[in-house]
Each structure stands twice: as structure tokens, then as C-alpha cells.
């Protein structure tokens, strides 16, 4: 047995290494985004004299504000549609016994494994024939493929855990299922809705393949596509300062959200996978 102090020190060292590994790339992006000119090429690890030039440039040289707004609208629309469709469905799946329930849950788990590229040409055809090519509504529609199985599955798991007595009282009072969901279950479900909505929001906010394929003009691009397609004036070297500033701008809110809602996100993420 090693002395306690050494074991403690080794453990601390491991913890420090894990934190450094997880956080350093984001830290480096923040530091780089605040450096301009020659300073950008310095590899000194500590930050010195901050400049906001890159942030100003990224909003001035392209419709980046518009791109952020696009992403917010698409992700918001996706979350709204997903929750509206998933809440009644997960009530049925979570609290009523009926034939085919198990098979349906398995089917959703299967759909959530779908590679997006497997539906790419068929989805392109739908988007085009509905006249939604290069429109944000088309993106939100296609994102349901990703968010619906996720929200249904997670909400079903949460629905299970609500106490049944309240629901029974409402049914005895003669309330219809929709009234029951709206008046009784939804308020109790608020934490679950926040967690599920957040997961769906992050999925939609981060999506790249559909956004790249179903939009054309820089005014309809979402944030990931805009960042991926930032190019320099000469086309020879990327304006890395701008790229880092854009990256930090869209990531900082996500990091803050994750830190605030950490527990709920973990509960939501593991509800589907581990507890099966």
C-alpha cells in the first residue's frame, strides 16, 4: 500500500489531467479568438492583451448575425414540433397498456440509429417537391427525423415515473386524455420537458449534413454551415481568428446551458440508452 498522501496526490493529478484534456481545446479557441495580427500566430499558452477585432470582423464580413437567427429559428421550430407531437404519443406509450407498444418503442430506437445519409436523396426529393428547398421550414421538417425518436423515447421514460394517483383522480372526474395531459401531467413534466427540449435543441443547433445539403444561399445558412464555409479573402489561408471567434460565439451559450442543466441532460441522455 502506498502512503495515503501519494495516492491522494496521484488521484488529484489524474483529475487535473482529465479537466485539462476536456477543456483545453475550448480554452485555446477562446484565447486565439481574442488575438489579432501577428499575435494570432503566437503559441504562448497564456492570454495577453485581448482584442475584439475578430468578433467584429466575423459579423461584418458575412451575414453571421442572420445565420445565428436562422439556427435559433430552426432549432426552436424543431423543438416545438417535436414536443407537440411527442407529448401525446409518449403519454400513450408510457401510461397505457396496448398491443404493439413494445414493438413501437423498438421501432423508435431503430429509427434513432438511422444514418442521415441513408435518407438523403429521398429527403431531398420531399423538400424539393414541397417547395422547401433553401427554406428554414424544410430544415426543421427534416430534423424531425433526428429529434422525434429521441424526444418520444426520453419522454416515455419520464412519463413512467409520474405518480398514478393524480391521473386516476382526473379520470374519475371524467377528463379526456388531452385535458388530462394538458392540465395534470404537463405541469408535473416540466423538468422532463426542459431536459428533452434541450437535447432536441442541441441536436438541431449542431446538425450539419441536412443544413449543408438543403440550403444554398449564405442568408439561409445555419451556424454550423456558415462556420464550415468561412473562407479567406485570398482563398489560400483561412482567417483563423474569425473562425475561432465564430466558434466561440455559438459554443459559449451551449456550454453555459450544459453547465446549468447538467443533471437533467445526463438524466435524459442515459434514459434511452442504459435503462433501455
Amino acid at each position: 500500500m502506498l502512503p495515503r498522501a501519494i495516492r491522494c496526490g496521484a488521484f488529484l493529478l489524474i483529475v487535473a489531467a482529465i479537466v485539462l484534456y476536456a477543456v483545453f481545446p475550448f480554452y485555446w479557441a477562446v484565447v486565439s479568438s481574442l488575438r489579432t495580427g501577428q499575435a494570432l500566430f503566437s503559441t504562448s499558452l497564456l492570454p495577453r492583451d485581448f482584442q475584439l477585432d475578430n468578433y467584429i470582423a466575423v459579423f461584418a464580413e458575412q451575414p453571421f448575425g442572420r445565420n445565428i437567427l436562422n439556427s435559433l429559428m430552426v432549432a426552436g421550430l424543431t423543438v416545438g414540433l417535436s414536443l407537440i407531437l411527442a407529448v401525446p404519443a409518449s403519454y400513450a406509450l408510457g401510461r397505457v397498456t396496448f398491443r404493439g407498444r413494445g414493438a413501437l418503442l423498438f421501432a423508435f430506437l431503430g429509427v434513432s440509429m438511422f444514418p442521415q445519409v441513408a435518407v438523403l436523396s429521398g429527403m431531398f426529393e420531399i423538400i424539393q417537391s414541397l417547395g422547401l428547398y433553401n427554406r428554414l421550414l424544410g430544415l426543421a421538417l427534416s430534423y424531425l427525423l433526428i429529434t422525434l425518436p429521441l424526444t418520444v423515447w426520453v419522454l416515455t421514460a419520464f412519463m413512467r415515473e409520474l405518480p398514478r394517483e393524480i391521473e386516476e383522480a382526473a379520470v374519475v372526474d371524467g377528463a379526456s386524455p388531452l385535458i388530462l395531459i394538458w392540465r395534470v401531467l404537463l405541469p408535473l413534466m416540466a423538468p422532463a420537458l426542459v431536459a428533452t427540449g434541450l437535447l432536441a435543441f442541441i441536436a438541431a443547433w449542431n446538425e450539419f449534413l441536412f443544413a449543408l445539403t438543403f440550403t444554398l444561399s449564405s442568408e439561409t445558412r445555419t451556424v454550423p454551415v456558415a462556420i464550415a464555409l468561412i473562407s479567406g479573402a485570398t482563398g489560400y489561408e483561412l482567417p483563423w481568428g474569425n473562425v475561432m471567434a465564430a466558434s466561440v460565439t455559438v459554443t459559449l451559450p451551449l456550454v453555459v446551458l450544459v453547465l446549468i442543466f447538467q443533471r437533467r441532460i445526463v438524466a435524459g441522455l442515459t434514459a434511452g440508452a442504459v435503462k433501455g
Binding site: V19, F98, A118, E125, I202, T213, P224, L254
Partner: protein
């Protein structure tokens, strides 16, 4: 726990409205999942082009024959398999190690768990750009640190050189997705029954033998589920490759190949055929996974509804 709700009278009375509650969601899934999947399958047997989808004519297995004769396709298959195998192995190994650390009681565990989650929340495109900058051949911080430590003698072109580009991709993917493995494995660790460990304690077992004899066997199902989840994700990898190394032949995955055929070469037939093959591979792995889940659940009687 997705166990069955206990059957009772109100539940039975509502059974008729069940399908009404499910219908909107099922219709949406038919529109965005089933229909486009079937159309993609149909396109893979036609000569459709991006400009005129309606003029598509049935050409049998011609697209698949073309695909199977294309060395680029086979290279992308090999790349996908190498990427999946290596990155999943590293993610599960590293994820398990971090989960074991997080499973211990120590001050600051909450903030540490939050810090570990950060890479998961960062968009893949942004991770690719952040690491692309860190891997920069002239100004990159990775080269600077390695030079200073004397690991390398001269700056290395991580994302451009054929041998290193795949290693760089895997490094970024491991960083980005290990948090997910950590969460799954940590949840598994926290469900392990404590009495085994208490009994081992009484017998005076060492920490190592407790790990090998108790933790590892009990964690096997969790490890398998995490590995399959990660593998399914790795096999369809698109955005990281597209942004970090572009259409570099050395790192092109099956998903990048399929999209290139569809939209860069405007060949909907061959592109859809590539999509379909990728789908079949993933469907096979998914089927294996679902069978495993079903077996585990029926052991607990959880899905007897």
C-alpha cells in the same frame, strides 16, 4: 425504467384513444423516415440525376455493380471500418477510466462531471475547426507543444499528410465523443449492487481483484451497449471528416462518398446505392443491438406488456 404500466381500469378504457394520440407522431415519422428511406432505396435502382429526379428509369443492379467495382468506394469502406474500430476502442477504454474516477466520492465531483460534458455539447463542425487550428502545420499549438517536449523534430502536417490525417480524425472524435461513453458507463457503474463490494471487503480482496472479479464482469453489458451506440455513430460519420480533411481520399468515409456522388457528381443512382449499402451495414448492427436489449429486458421481464 421502461417497464410496463400496471394495467388498471382507467388505462383499459383509454386504450381506444391510444392510436389517436399516436397518429400525428407516426404520420410525421412516416413522412421524414420511412418514405425518404424507401425513395432512396428506389433511386439506387435507377439512373436518376440531381437535375431531373422524375425522369429516373429502372436500371436493375447497375449502380451496385458500378459501386462494387470502384476502388474509391472500397477505400471509403476500409476508412470507415478503421475509423470506427480504433475510435470506439479508444473511447470505451478512456471513457471507462474516466467513469471509474467519477464514480468515486470526492469534493468537486460535480464540477468535474460538468467539465467532462463540455466536448459533447460543442457542435462537431466547431470541434473540427478548433482542432484544425490546433493541428495547423505552421502555427498549431499541438506542433509547438510537441516540439518543445522534443517528441517531434520538425513541425508535422497533421491533417494534410495521408498517414496522419486518419490519426488526427480519430483524435478529434475521441475527444468529442468520450463524454457520451463516460455518461453511459457511469450510469452503469452506479447501478452495480454494493453488497458484492462489501462482501469482498470482508474477504480482504485488493482493489485490483475487486475490479477484475466484480466490476468488469458486471459491467460487460453496459460496455457492450456503449460500444455499439458509439459504433453506430462512428459508422455514419460525416461532418467531422468533411470539415477537417475535406474530400481527401485517405480519410473519405462511406457517408462522405455517398454525398459526393449525390451532390458533387449529381449521380443520384450511385449515390443512393452507396447510401443503401451503408444503411444495410448499420441496420445489421442495430438489429444485433436491439436483440441484445430485448434479451436483457426479457430477463428482467420489463417488456412483458
Amino acid at each position: 425504467m421502461v417497464g410496463p404500466p400496471r394495467p388498471d381500469r382507467p388505462a383499459r378504457r383509454r386504450a381506444g384513444t391510444v392510436w389517436l394520440l399516436l397518429a400525428p407522431m407516426l404520420l410525421a415519422l412516416l413522412l421524414v423516415a420511412a418514405w425518404p428511406l424507401l425513395r432512396t432505396l428506389w433511386f439506387s435502382f435507377t439512373d436518376a440525376t440531381l437535375f431531373d429526379l422524375s425522369a429516373a428509369r429502372y436500371v436493375g443492379l447497375a449502380n451496385f455493380a458500378l459501386l462494387l467495382a470502384d476502388p474509391e468506394w472500397w477505400r471509403s469502406v476500409r476508412n470507415t471500418l478503421v475509423f470506427t474500430a480504433v475510435s470506439v476502442a479508444l473511447e470505451i477504454g478512456l471513457g471507462f477510466a474516466i467513469a471509474l474516477v467519477l464514480n468515486r466520492e470526492f469534493p468537486g465531483r460535480g464540477p468535474l462531471r460538468a467539465a467532462v460534458l463540455i466536448p459533447w455539447a460543442i457542435p462537431t463542425v466547431v470541434s473540427a475547426k478548433m482542432w484544425g487550428w490546433m493541428f495547423h502545420d505552421v502555427y498549431g499549438v499541438v506542433n509547438a507543444i510537441l516540439l518543445q517536449l522534443g517528441v517531434i523534430g520538425a513541425p508535422v502536417a497533421w491533417t494534410a499528410s495521408p498517414d496522419l490525417a486518419m490519426a488526427a480524425l480519430i483524435a478529434v472524435d475521441v475527444w468529442k465523443t468520450t463524454p457520451f461513453a463516460v455518461l453511459l458507463l457511469l450510469a452503469g457503474l452506479q447501478m452495480l449492487p454494493q453488497d458484492y463490494y462489501d462482501a469482498a471487503e470482508v474477504d480482504g480482496a485488493s482493489a485490483l481483484s475487486k475490479f477484475v472479479r466484480i466490476t468488469l464482469p458486471l459491467m460487460k453489458p453496459s460496455l457492450a451497449v456503449a460500444a455499439i451506440f458509439r459504433a453506430l455513430d462512428a459508422m455514419r460519420m460525416f461532418d467531422l471528416v468533411y470539415v477537417l480533411t475535406g474530400s481527401n481520399r485517405e480519410t473519405m468515409t462511406m457517408a462522405v462518398y455517398a454525398r459526393q456522388q449525390l451532390f458533387d457528381f449529381q449521380d443520384f443512382g450511385v449515390g443512393s446505392a452507396a447510401s443503401t449499402l451503408l444503411f444495410l451495414v448499420i441496420a445489421l448492427v442495430t438489429a444485433i443491438y436491439l436483440t441484445m436489449v430485448r434479451l436483457r429486458l426479457s430477463e428482467h421481464g420489463a417488456l412483458a406488456g
